[in-house]
Amino acid sequence: MSAAVVEHDDHDDHHDDDHDHGPAKGLLRWIVTTNHKDIGTLYLLFALAMFFVGGSMAMVIRAELFEPGLQFVDPAFFNSMTTMHALVMVFGAVMPAFVGLANWQIPLMIGAADMALPRMNNMSFWMLVAGVLLLASTLFMEGGAPNGGWTLYPPLVLQPITVGKALPFAIFSVHLLGISSIMGAINIIATILNMRAPAMRLMDMPLFVWTWLITAFLLIAVMPVFAGAVTMLLTDKFFHTSFFNAAGGGDPVLYEHIFWFFGHPEVYIMILPTFGVASTIIPVFARKPLFGYASMVWATASIAFLSFIVWAHHMFTVGMPIAGELYFMYATMIIAVPTGVKVFNWTATMWKGAMTFETPMLFSIAFVVLFTMGGFTGLMMAIAPADFQYHDTYFIVAHFHYTLVPASIFILMAAGYFWLPKWTGHMYNEKIGQLHFWLSAISVNILFFPQHFLGLAGMPRRIPDYAIQFADWNMISSIGGFIFGASQLLFLYIVVDTIKGGTGEKVTAEVWEDAAKHGLEWTLPSPVPYHTWTTPPTTVPTEHVLDTH
């Protein structure tokens, strides 16, 4: 076991190196910084803020759905909330949070001094902020924020009643967010391919790095397609084109095809890095190498490839010929194979491991269980004839929330608990962490599980009012929602508390027992110095890839 006893050059030894100083003083540091750790922090904090903004919108939705009838908001505003909640959570919270983790962790994990293109890195962060602000500004416009759903389907989204003044702003916001993600992705690919420590071969890379490499390629491939689709919406509305306009010989169904050609890889953009973090955390707390490293890499690549050829399962009800329905049905089901490989690998990693259950591990185990449930409902909807029943009901809402909240969001929480001590040098409060976990894990099920029943009973999504037979489960779901929402304030508290000093316990370089066997970042001191790996490590830990050597 080459547990990388890497002699790290303490940065104090390098007074002659003009790069080797601490961060700039004052607020300007955060605006002009090109340090990957600073930018990672900016991304993570911004994502956390957006998580609460998007979460508040979800609270408005659950409050309105607490009882049948219209109580708090008018229907148009309700529809704005569902639309904006989705856009903010996808483009403002989950994606930036993973980019933040990538910024912090990839250079540490591969032994690089910084990201490959530090200035572009700064630019992609601030472009993200601009994009999200532009999107948020539509909330205050005449006619309100976009309310035709985050998928922006024409003709609805182009009709005067839903457009208001907001549509072009939302579209330009998507352009900015797209450019920002593409720049981030290019940076990540360049860092991983060109800046790995010489000792680290591709098949030595930690899985988080692997999953992000593949995700970055997905981003570059599909974000431009989405940009194209919304540009067509823009020209249809304002420049007399007829891509989607039936009167001019266009076809609104075309938009759905283009959108989901982007949209399906997009959902894997949000889940693949999740897989990477889970594969990083579980071995540490199971005290075993990751089971099936190579199969994990290949499964990730297969999922990424398959994501390009299954898009029309989002639109089974659109009137496809039977051959198309069958093709998209079977192709979609094949994805369960590599995903199953992953779930079994995580389970096998834990098998007979000397497991302990600190907060990051708890969140990771909950992820494995609950994500699997989300995956199974996905399989149910892959069955084309059955999908006609589930389509556009609360069943799909339950499905994708299971794959996003107790999966991506839980793993982001786990990543926070796992790496915050490393980043800050302070230990978080384990008791509050565990409380946060149990409250979240229980309430997320109270929140989303009843939505399966609502969907199967036929409650449509995106409506502010509903028939009274749906009342009970909606009330239970809302109660779960309020508990879940409130519990997240604990996470906010822990993050702030840990940054300010946490429990006061001094953490070691490894933080977690024997963590240095699993990843390079744990061979660095805690807190991680401002500049790291100015000389690349000469050996890399290979415990995680034992079975490939």
Binding site: L117, A246, G248
Partner: protein
């Protein structure tokens, strides 16, 4: 950063930017690709423009079955027109030819350009409903206050599965004046 590394970065970034730009182009290329896939009937059964005129074929009339054909008309975006079929319902035998007239009147003092888009319910019947003459194939220009009687001649292919008893054919007039004028 060493010069060698910086060269490697430049090369890689160039390739990746090129990929991103070509994927933007690919988004637009999906428009014609989609048309082709639709013609091959791979990903969509019928498109508005897909309902082509066919020449009259001599079918054996199936006197044992009677299909109810219903006609619906809609004006999109409150176009100032009158548009309705002369009969709302017709009972036909598969294989028999019928002509139905649609009445359309421009009530405004301006030229209106519309296109009729057809839609079938149940959708699966559309491929058995053959039109030999229709106003729906192209844009229709209406002079101010112009009245038109527009014939639609059709036959139901006797191969229509027996489970179908009623076919509803709906036409929507989409106002395309603005876009046609600005083209």
């Amino acid at each position: 950063m060493t010069e060698e590394l910086s060269k490697k970065h430049t090369k890689l970034v160039r390739i990746l930017v090129l990929v991103a730009i070509s994927m933007f182009g690919f988004g637009y290329a999906l428009v014609p690709i989609y048309d082709v896939l639709c013609q091959w009937k791979w990903i969509e059964r019928d498109r508005p423009d897909d309902i082509k005129q066919v020449s009259e074929a001599a079918y054996k009339v199936d006197m044992d079955r009677e299909i109810t054909v219903e006609f619906l008309t809609t004006l999109n975006e409150s176009t100032p027109m009158e548009f309705h079929p002369e009969v709302k319902q017709l009972k036909v035998h598969p294989g028999e030819y019928h002509t139905v007239n649609f009445y359309a009147e421009n009530k405004a003092n301006k030229v209106i350009v519309v296109r009729a888009i057809a839609s079938f319910s149940p959708a699966l019947t559309s491929s058995y409903f053959e039109k030999t003459q229709c106003f729906c194939f192209s844009e229709q220009t209406f002079q101010p206050k112009e009245i038109k009687t527009m014939p639609m001649r059709f036959v139901i292919n006797p191969e229509l599965p027996v489970s179908y008893k009623t076919i509803t054919l709906s036409y929507t007039f989409f106002d395309n004046t603005e876009k046609s004028v600005n083209k």
